[in-house]
């Protein structure tokens, strides 16, 4: 077992983990942050995306020990409890999702992308989200949500 300290959603967590434990399992099982979903366990679907030190990463492909000393943001940390952040609100307004399983990954991926590319257009957004799989929507409503958030961000 390895002792690690990780800052998650602004709070410091100390834990003792097996070296083989993935970051997604650490977040879900040890920290009870079950908003991060595991969709494929091989880095292909993006459902487990979280933000580590400002970058979107697949938490199923990262070991918990690799996150030691890092700052991690999960879907639970995106907006104060009981509220929706601007991206989440825009996605709700756009009826972006259906079953909700891929949702946290899309929200985190889009959030990281929009912070770096606030002026992105549709094609750039599609490419940025092309590593996240949604089986319900056909993507258009998700893209519309991100475009709406970007527009509102520019107008604000």
């Amino acid at each position: 077992m390895v002792d690690i300290t990780v800052r998650v959603n602004g709070a410091t967590h100390a834990g003792s983990v097996e070296p083989r434990m993935t970051l997604s399992d650490f977040l879900r099982d040890d920290l009870d942050l079950t908003g991060t979903h595991v969709g494929c366990e091989h880095g292909a679907c993006g459902a487990c995306t979280v933000i580590v030190d400002g970058r979107a990463v697949r938490s199923c492909l990262m070991l918990a020990v690799q996150a030691a000393g890092s700052e991690v943001t999960t879907i639970e940390g995106l907006a104060p409890e009981g509220t929706l952040g601007p991206l989440q609100q825009a996605m709700r307004d756009s009826h972006s999702f259906q079953c909700g399983f891929c949702t946290p990954g899309f929200v985190m991926q889009a959030s990281a992308f929009l912070s770096a590319h606030p002026d992105a257009g549709e094609q750039e957004i599609r490419e940025a989200l092309s590593g996240n799989i949604c089986r319900c929507t056909g993507y258009q409503s998700i893209i519309d949500g991100v475009l709406l958030a970007a527009r509102r961000g520019r107008e604000a």
Partner: protein, 781 residues
Amino acid sequence: MTQIAAERYTGASVKRSEDPRILTGGGRYVADVKLPGMLHAAFVRSPLAHARVLAVDVSAARALPGVVAVLTGAELEAMTVPGPDPLLALMGGGGPTPEYTLLATDKVRFAGDPVAIVVAESRYLAEDGCELVEVDYADLPPVVSAGLALDAGSPPVFANLGDNIVGPHKRSEFGDVAGTFAAADRVAEFHIDVHRHQNVPMEGRGCIVSHDADSGIVTVHAATQSVHITRMGVAMRLGIEQDKVRVLAGDIGGSFGLKIGVSREELAVAAASRAVGRPVKWVEDRSENLSASGHAREESFDVRAAVSKDGDLLGLDVKMVIDTGAYPVMGTMVPAIIEMMLPGPYKLAALGFESTAVTTNKASYVAYRGPWASETFVRERVLDLLAKDLGLDPLEIRLRNVAPRTDPPFTMITGRPLVGVTTKESLERVAHAVDIPAFRRRQAEERARGRYLGIGLATFIEGAPGPRSPEGPSGPMGLEFMRLRLAEDGVVTLFTGQMPHGQSHQTTLAQIAADEFGVPFEQVRVVVGDSDVVPFGLTGGSRSATMTGGVTLHGARQLKAKVLEFASHLMEASARDLEIVDGEVLVRGDPDSAMTVAEVARQAASGQFGSDVDPDLAVEASYDGGEGGWSGGSHCAIVEVDVETGMVKVERYVAAEDCGALINPAVVEGQIRGGIAQGIGAVLLERSAYDQDGNYQSATFMDYLLPTACDIPRIEIEHLETVPLDADVNFRGVGEGGMIVAPPTVVNAIEDALTPFGVRIYEQHLPPARILELIAASTPA
């Protein structure tokens, strides 16, 4: 927060009540549930398609610290009651019944077949335990295709059957088949294949089962389309009464038909939990999901079409073979639906149909969004092939053959009336939207520049729920039930057997109830997912818009009448003079008399009434579907085929759909787009592939390719609303149509693009390599 100012919620794109939780990580999916003392299961699975199991050595696994139990097929067999798949038992398959166990005992029947279950303190340890289980196999010849399965000499997958036929050959004729073919100007013949592909919900299967030794109650946390079907299956296999099983479900991460029943693995987890006396959790990983959860389609069709020289489709004679894989669940039921639906919205006057269902050493056939969809693929492909041969335009041949809308309605040759079907209108609507003549001009110009564009058109109807049947609703697809209650806080609570997994029922049913009862949308609560609390039901078959929409509307009306009757005693007015507006009961025209529904409910709960007053503000409602009706529509795709690489790009996609009255347009459009995306994926990307030895080739997302945001275009949707058939309920289902009609739409467009090469397409899966093969093998026109 009242979000819309409209008079009615029904018909408006009300924002989903599901979204605040799913957008913040607050959804609760089965993998998120933790119970005290919970253990984790993993399965040892067969690496071989067909083999005898000689020995299973679990001693090393049992000795591993952290492993609590390892159960073999034989041990599990001793703890459970034998029988066919519970869904098959419920729905009735009709064919011979294979005998098998939850985990393989004497032999394994597909690569991925579960052989043993390891239960440990963590999933990591359970998988470590699986690594230590040693199974000795003796290879048997694998039956990896329907062709092999039909060969009487093939080794039987199930010893008790003697051969590999699970749906015996059957032929039906409607109309004068022989006469029609004898008199036709032409008879064309085609062999058409639909490939094996699969549901792939982003959340796979999973469950947590606990067993209370004192009460004997088994509690299942399930990812299911019906808590009641899961309850039935668990009770059957554990050999206990249904009321000893409680099934709970929270959010479900998609399904598309996969989770309509209860799988062998889930039943094995239930038995294992009872054996170890602790809660056991199993959540399948993606490789299990892709290789072992089940696959769909894989059907072949020998088609003869009788046609006049002017393009009248006079008769079809179709021979179908379906590969149901191992462990039949529902594949044997599909041919009868395909037979019934084959005429579609057309005047077809003669149909011969025969089918055989076989079992093979591949994963089981499972329901996937429009399980009978191949009837539309075959028919719409055949129409384009005939149009090409006759020099007709694809729109022209369809308009020529569409049944007219008459009163009484035209009846399909297979027996169901085409009541309220708007195929002609939807065809004209999409044709107008894309401007086919303008496209043809552009197509010619681009071809001259070496770019190959194509346009494809296809149309479908879907019994969602279908026209009222003279026999009335029956079986699991029969009556829909709902309990409704006005709670003391003024909330109208709906208890429904629907188990939404993306369909937004918490929003759409609340819209209908809010309008009908007279409260704000936020004052309606939809309760799902507890078999002790909700009435029987299932989400599937695109039935909930009509059936659950209908029971919500009528149930809310009944509850309102009951509340007004009770309020009439409080308000000393006749119930006839009372109304409910925006959550308040009042005497019509007298705002000063208003009393909130919460106050009425609190008074009712106080219990100070005579025996002539009924203060129980709850009702139990049922609904038979009213006049029912068809959903349907026509789709059009414009594609570009790169003849150098074989890549296909869908440039434009337009759908004109008629699902009657829309409850929530954004939800409807989401269903349509999602289905189309799956249909585009099925044609361009997805295939559940086996090699000749029955090894599964598509067990990761690097091998089973799903469409991404770069593969699916913006989808334009136009809504038609049929003439109402019912006084109140004209909502019709829209869950499956996109997936039913997108494959022929896209394939028709690809063939059109390749017209200069003389390519004819008789299959559904067209990845780049196949496109190049088709071009290479073609004879340029």
